[in-house]
Symmetry: C2
DNA sequence: TTGTAGGCGTTATCAG
DNA sequence: CTGATAACGCCTACAA
């Protein structure tokens, strides 16, 4: 365990070489004799030497750390399993390349921007990944302005072509989800999405509309609801929908958690799923399997979103003229028991 | 936006002072004239100066970053809402004092220890918080050996007196939960806990046993089950319990997620909660409210665990002779619909 | 109140 | 192959 603060110099002394030689051994420089390499390594071992990352960063102008930018911490998003899962993905991608993660948070958007500026200008990180994608985002403008390496999870609102991002095909996934319901025979399908501030919501809404249009089902504004990505949101949404004179017979819901809220409310109102109402939701987190009934949900491979994001970022960092790219993560509709043909009162459609 | 890499020297030049003066302005040194202070600040503004954290860290030997050590990333724990919530707490505590978070992960215990060694010896962080507490933990030994500032969330297995930690009173919380069931009239109460490797499990088991003993209810080994902290665990546990000749009429379950699994399995077996079986679980995450039936759960104030942990750590960092302390976070039993008096077939106990 | 100079622990560029 | 030596950007005695 030895003395704290063993430096390269101590090692050099013990091994009878110059500090620069030790440095070379650390960097595994090819042009160094096996003999001294051995000698130095033994010395390091003996002294319990560990390179000082900070000093190394200063000298080499690189930190091997990537910064995480999340939505404001007050945000409910934190409660959603989405977050730990992307994080896990990012973390794994980073770990494989020996990068560490660095994060700061803020309560407001301005605090967050501030935190980002600090970590970027303060040279604490080599690159940044944004865990969300909002419609008008100062953080993105800032990063673009300094042309600092960054990757967005989700689709950037502007300059899509110039920003490397990892996303699902949200248009298609929602279109497919809606089509699935249409195939089951539903004609009255409502859209319960998150805030229109989020790009993902915009994309999905388009997919929903397209599916209806292609099936020649009229769009109905009252069937489109935007709520917070959580339980309470679900409750309110359902309240509104079910007070319409023509209630929907099926719902596409932006998120499993929200869907759980919907399920509850429906239950309280004495409506059964899928008997009275069918539901398709998104994310396919563990919970969707455990709900009653188990939810049909679109798996968007959250872990991969994170994993690919850190991979892309690291490429961007290590190869300054890496082209910008867009990575689309696949999705799949996982069918469970929350969907059924609508009850028509007449006959059963197969 | 200007040139990248504006240094203290550039500012000094523009403001017509020595670099050291600029440094003093940054540190807000009292012995510096208002006039030059102003001048320097303007220069900083004009050049868009931001201090380089790395350089500062190297010179001052402090990083204003705290390291996070989590259980192995492959671990199911990641899926549990516990994790993002403590993280949020830690993050908030850190943010208030202008500390950033630094994390690395590993798949095995050895990888994790390695990561810790790297961040500690590499001087990347000023202190560390452990997000778990296991029975024999190399990380703790290591940290203690170097006497590096750290805080444990949960109760350390050994040397409790010498390690600052933030915990619930797990003995008492479990004792109370069990007593609640006893008061309802239950005599056959099973314990479905996590791995005995985790200190929290040990403590709770003791609380459970004490409650039974005080009520003069015989302990029954078959009623004590240890499973992974997740859904699957719950399933298996229930299977075992319900195949006993004397089935329990109530369960205390270590975690809401696990309880959800239990709920499902029970449902599949045609048993009703709380009709046939009562359940008390722990953590009181959002989900417990949304389960069917809503779960009676012990709220352990996860956010606070994290928040206090970072507070304590920062004190430890900033005041080297801060005494070790133990912070106990309160808990409360939140009663919902998953508990009822046992069905005796004879009379109803109130 | 301010400037000078050395050091924090590495890396990198020269020579040799 | 290896050794000086100068950065990296900031902090901090010590001097003035």
């Amino acid at each position: 365990m030895n003395d704290l603060a063993v430096t390269i110099k101590d090692v050099a002394q013990l091994a009878n070489v110059a500090p620069s030689t030790v440095s070379r051994v650390i960097a595994n420089s090819p042009r160094i004799s096996e003999k001294t390499k051995q000698r130095v390594k033994e010395a390091m071992e003996q002294l319990g030497y560990h390179p000082n990352f900070i000093a190394r960063s200063l000298a080499s102008q690189s930190t091997r750390a990537i910064g995480l930018v999340m939505p404001s911490s007050s945000d409910v998003v934190f409660q959603n399993p989405f977050f730990p899962t992307v994080l896990q993905g990012i973390s794994e991608g980073a770990h494989e390349k020996n990068y560490a993660l660095h994060m700061t948070t803020g309560k407001s958007e301005d605090e967050i921007l501030d935190a980002v500026i600090h970590m970027v200008q303060g040279k604490r990180v080599d690159g940044v990944v944004l865990l969300y994608s909002k419609v008008e985002d100062k953080v993105i403008s800032y990063l673009q302005g300094r042309d600092f390496p960054f990757v967005v999870i989700g689709k950037p609102y502007k300059h899509v072509e110039q920003i490397t991002h990892v996303d699902n095909d949200n248009f298609r996934s929602m279109k497919e989800a809606t089509e699935y319901l249409i195939e089951l025979g539903h004609q009255h399908i409502a859209f319960v999405g998150g805030s229109l501030d989020l790009v993902v919501t915009v994309d999905r809404l388009l997919g929903y509309e397209r599916a209806l249009r292609e099936a020649e089902i009229p769009l109905c504004n009252e069937y489109i609801i935007h709520e917070e990505f959580l339980r309470e949101g679900g409750r309110e949404a359902v309240g509104e929908l079910m007070s319409l004179e023509q209630c929907p017979t099926a719902l596409v819901v932006a998120d499993d958690f929200m869907a759980l809220g919907v399920l509850n409310t429906l239950d309280e109102m004495g409506l059964s799923v899928p008997g009275d109402i069918s539901i398709v939701s998104f994310n396919n987190v563990l919970l969707s399997e455990m709900a009653k009934p188990p939810l049909t949900s679109v798996d968007i491979n959250i872990f991969d979103l994170g994993y690919q994001a850190s991979k892309c970022l690291i490429q961007l960092i290590e190869n300054s003229n890496e082209p910008t790219k867009r990575v689309i993560i696949s999705h799949q509709l996982v069918k469970r028991q929350s969907c059924d043909a609508p009850y028509t009162g007449k006959s059963i459609i197969i």
